[in-house]
Point group: C7
Chain length 246, copies 7
Amino acid sequence: MQGQQQQQAYDRGITIFSPDGRLYQVEYAREAVKRGTASIGVRARDGVALLVDKRIRSPLMEQSSVEKLHKADDHVGVASAGHVADARRLIDFARRDAQVNRLRYEEPIGVEALTKDVTDHIQQFTQIGGARPFGVALLIGGLENGEPRLYETDPSGTPYEWKAIAIGSERSDIQAYLEDHYDEDQTIDEAVALALRALASVHDEGLTPKRIAAATVDAESEQYIQLTDDEVEEYLVDADVLADEE
Amino acid sequence: MQGQQQQQAYDRGITIFSPDGRLYQVEYAREAVKRGTASIGVRARDGVALLVDKRIRSPLMEQSSVEKLHKADDHVGVASAGHVADARRLIDFARRDAQVNRLRYEEPIGVEALTKDVTDHIQQFTQIGGARPFGVALLIGGLENGEPRLYETDPSGTPYEWKAIAIGSERSDIQAYLEDHYDEDQTIDEAVALALRALASVHDEGLTPKRIAAATVDAESEQYIQLTDDEVEEYLVDADVLADEE
Amino acid sequence: MQGQQQQQAYDRGITIFSPDGRLYQVEYAREAVKRGTASIGVRARDGVALLVDKRIRSPLMEQSSVEKLHKADDHVGVASAGHVADARRLIDFARRDAQVNRLRYEEPIGVEALTKDVTDHIQQFTQIGGARPFGVALLIGGLENGEPRLYETDPSGTPYEWKAIAIGSERSDIQAYLEDHYDEDQTIDEAVALALRALASVHDEGLTPKRIAAATVDAESEQYIQLTDDEVEEYLVDADVLADEE
Amino acid sequence: MQGQQQQQAYDRGITIFSPDGRLYQVEYAREAVKRGTASIGVRARDGVALLVDKRIRSPLMEQSSVEKLHKADDHVGVASAGHVADARRLIDFARRDAQVNRLRYEEPIGVEALTKDVTDHIQQFTQIGGARPFGVALLIGGLENGEPRLYETDPSGTPYEWKAIAIGSERSDIQAYLEDHYDEDQTIDEAVALALRALASVHDEGLTPKRIAAATVDAESEQYIQLTDDEVEEYLVDADVLADEE
Amino acid sequence: MQGQQQQQAYDRGITIFSPDGRLYQVEYAREAVKRGTASIGVRARDGVALLVDKRIRSPLMEQSSVEKLHKADDHVGVASAGHVADARRLIDFARRDAQVNRLRYEEPIGVEALTKDVTDHIQQFTQIGGARPFGVALLIGGLENGEPRLYETDPSGTPYEWKAIAIGSERSDIQAYLEDHYDEDQTIDEAVALALRALASVHDEGLTPKRIAAATVDAESEQYIQLTDDEVEEYLVDADVLADEE
Amino acid sequence: MQGQQQQQAYDRGITIFSPDGRLYQVEYAREAVKRGTASIGVRARDGVALLVDKRIRSPLMEQSSVEKLHKADDHVGVASAGHVADARRLIDFARRDAQVNRLRYEEPIGVEALTKDVTDHIQQFTQIGGARPFGVALLIGGLENGEPRLYETDPSGTPYEWKAIAIGSERSDIQAYLEDHYDEDQTIDEAVALALRALASVHDEGLTPKRIAAATVDAESEQYIQLTDDEVEEYLVDADVLADEE
Amino acid sequence: MQGQQQQQAYDRGITIFSPDGRLYQVEYAREAVKRGTASIGVRARDGVALLVDKRIRSPLMEQSSVEKLHKADDHVGVASAGHVADARRLIDFARRDAQVNRLRYEEPIGVEALTKDVTDHIQQFTQIGGARPFGVALLIGGLENGEPRLYETDPSGTPYEWKAIAIGSERSDIQAYLEDHYDEDQTIDEAVALALRALASVHDEGLTPKRIAAATVDAESEQYIQLTDDEVEEYLVDADVLADEE
């Protein structure tokens, strides 16, 4: 109670620190990320796999319109968790950033550089008043000089590079699964399967192709490619995590 | 009580998250949508049907002036629920956006692109201080490359695509009716009838042509066409939901 | 008490919704309208009649200077209820809007278009912070392509079209009278008389010419014409609602 | 007590309405007007008379420097009640407005037009945040097309035209005197005398020339002319309201 | 207590009036003036005398650096009471204003015009938010067309003209002394002496030259001339108010 | 409790001092620095060593992406403690500052000048409202005219020069170790070793190469050089503080 | 308690006066000055001496980097007490001001003019909202037309000239010592010694050269010259206040 009152005294905006040096609004934005369904990224030796879980509101909704997986440039994909509208804004920022790079330097933007431009943009929303932080985390995966790279952006504007990472709902359990089963030498096919099994590990009822979207950027094509529903289903069958149709 | 006090501590503006990562002002704007009478959109195999319910304040009011159904471009219609004045502003935005597209690219704007421009505009009103969110949801229906498309925008600025959707008052019951009776292969005539029956399902007293406005964008004409009162009445008779005149 | 405390938590500005989706400041602005004396508009088959009641503060005040009835353009009149100074600002806006239309398109502005430009202006004062809503409602009556039209603007920025409408003090009772006695086929003379009788229905002591101002826009002249005191008196005598001189 | 708490919840700024549609800050500004000594305007058949009462702080103060009576243009005078510094600002506005009119149209500005420009300026300070309303009322008197006109501006920005009017301290009692004794056919000399007697009616001890300033705009000269102390004394003697020298 | 709570509800800024029409922040700024040591101005038949009392913080402080007496232009001096830094800003404003006048019109600025420019500047700090009022009063004395003039500016931005005036600490007692002993026909020498005796009337221990600064603008030279310490001492001796050296 | 309430009254923003002259928000930002893992700088006779400790969130995170050690220019390195995203922004500032210096003066920027430009930037975020202070401290080490220099910037914007310094978690204990063992004549190799032993002094379990990053700027090469994992491990072995692999 | 509550009601910003006319935020900024270690200025017949005490945080800190003594121009030095970062900003301002003067007028800026430019800058931070006052006092000493001058600036923006002055911690006791021992005819060497003895008077344990920095501007060289540690030690020995080395 005392602790809660203490917290409430310092959590009404991004322009104030709490006495113990915390920015509560940024921490609350992280909670907004946890409210979103999970997204998973896995780096393989020959590419990056991104996989997202979609919340199903009604059978009449077109699942394909639930935007959690995006192409930022030919060679970079982005998966999000948290506020969809906030994610859309950051992805617009990323796309413009990637295009400007192509125009200026006539080459694709590096995944790290792209990530850091995005996180710098996010940081400003945690220091200057008059706005709120972005309530979304992104996984930015792609190829940089032929090497697969996978980054996370969080609401504080900090970039992290990962071998495999889960964000959103039940992040901890999925991450634990990834830590137990990750293998740096896996192929991109195995990476997609790992991501699916990791997500399935927190869904005892199995997964349906409809609620899953997945994409890869492989070292050969250097292209962002979204999997078809049939391909997703095949992976689910192979991983033995296919749910009965809802 | 405790929960309500908790909520009240974080619901005075869009620039603060609650400790559990919610934006209460956006959620309250969704309540403003529910205060409006219902609007329904149904996608058929050959077009999109939009139908709106109008609140009758006085027999001396011209029902035609209750603006819930709008033409955004030749091939796109919009139905709204919630604050009428807010809807008008968004529809002005949509119309200008569609016109700019015609001028720049000499072709009609895609329904998805138009929707996303509108939702990006809405999102800004949920992140930058000094204003309130839009208290309105829109159904944007039309043809894109000959294909019927139906989108929803909500006060958070998230776009969703639907086969059939209800917004506004008694949304849940109408949506349940739509889920039970929707058929992807229906014609646009059947879509109008479905929407009427869905609305009637929450009005035991039946419906009058005066309180209903309906429009279609069909694949043949590719034109937004608003139904006449007589046409509406015919549908009501056919669907056996015609009320006694008030 | 509980309800009032609840309300007071959300009624201090236009940039916050209440938990049930209301904008209290806009609702309070509607109360400001009700504090003003009544104004009435009646559409006839051959024109529009506007009639206003003026509060008498002192016999030394020039009643003609109580501004409730205005000419917006040759063919459009405006009657207001609520804050006089706010009304003046909106009417300035309407006049400039009408003049710009004449300059650009070399034709008189439509009554509907004029109304919607005004309501769009009003809406901005209900969404962007740093100001209050307009505490005034307007009746905008005139001719559009030879047809009489009568619109209302309210503090939320919503436009409505009416056959006959009362705003301001005792609006409900006057509106009830209008609903009971309105006839679409009436002439403009009968419309003025109806408005007078409707106003008199809430003033048992009768009406004096001094407290009344009336104007018409008829289909023949297509001109806004304000009635003289003698003409008003004649109507009062005819309608048998002339009060003893105060 | 309850009522006062209610009031206090809505009276801290001009950007919020109270639940009953009032703008308390504007009403409090009217109180600021009442704190000022009285000013009186009387319209005669051949001109306008303005008269002001000056508070005497010390015999060493030059009464002539207490600014309550101003020339706005050759043919227009202004008397104020309330905050002197606020009045000065509005009169600067009025003077510039009158000069601009002469430059643009090569003719003197109308008294009504001048008044309405001033009230429009005042209104902005009652709707847009970041400032307070003007704590002053003005009486604007002069000639328009040879006709005497007398206007009042109040802190809400509403213009009123009067035959005779008192503002400031003890306004009600003075106004009652004016209502009892006003005669539309009086000459400007009689108007000055009426104003003096009206002011004296609330000062049993009589009036001294020092505390009075008076000015006229007569139809013949069409000039604003301030009375000398001797002329004022003569009027006081004639009206039999001359006080013993303080 | 009740009264104090009432007051505290309305005294946090210049943009709100209290229910009885007062601007507490301006009144508090007047208290800041009273916290300053006294300054006195006396108008003689042949010039103006300004005299200031300086607070002595330490014998090591250079009393000459305590800025309470300033030359605004060749023919105008200014004495202040209240916040020294605020006074400096206003005097900078006055000096620039006087210089601009010389450049534009090639003649010295009038004392009245200069005063009113300064008070207009002060008024803005009492109406527009985001700043506080000036916590200083000024006495502006000089020659205008050969005539001595003496003005006061207060924190509300109101200008007053005086024959003799005291501002700052113990203003009332000194003013009473001035009222008892002022003579319009006195010479400027007598005016300096009167000011000194008036100040001494509230300092039983007498005055030292160090704590006094005095200046005159006489009709002959039309120059602002500051008295030397010796001259001040001579006046003190003549007036028999010389204190023992501290 | 009393003290805490006192503190809470003045700690909500950088624009207010507490009664005892403190800026709590700046002090809380210092707490944010202490929440970060430690960073250490040691000046040797022939260069500067920087060493940082990295928090390990998951074995799948790429430790190299935890940004605590940066190259600001060829001859200057920066180690940070506190908010990573804030540090990134300051380092961007420092890099641009260094580049501008090279462009303008065609020579490398001095370490002191660079530090002071950064601290000036930080200071503005402690005085002007609308933002929060930077929640990060930096160690800026490099060569200036061949001489090794080591500076600290703190959240108040004050620059300090050090021989050896620790910032972040357990700063006091590490600093005590440095004070006990620092030798001005040590070589840069010894400086790296000292930093490692100082960090190990607060980690009884020893250190792993993965959690350590280190860099030097030596007087010979005048280049910022980051140590490889193998080099770090060698130092750890030599200092006998190598932990068992986690 | 009552008094404290009273105070707390008016001390949250520079834009509000307290009922007794005080600006608490400026007074609290003066407390920030007192939190700093002492600085002393002494004017001699042939120059000015500045002396500062430095707080020792760690033996590893370079005392020379504790910035309390600055050269503003060739002939002007500045000593500060209070917030170091705030002092740096004011000194940047002073340096630019001095340089601009040299460029414009081709001569060194006067010490008084420089001081007043700085205090005008400080004053703005006490009147316009959105920032806090500067939490620092400065001693500005130098030569003006060959004459030694010594000024103080305080957080209110008031300039004072002094013969000898102490600011910062234990200001009162040091000032008392100065008042007892100051001699206007002393040489600059004696002035340095006086400042040292005055500082030593509040440090029974004596002083070390490390914690002292001193500078002079003498009439012969007209140059700001900082004393070496050896010179400081010599003075300490001469004044018999040398402490045992810490």
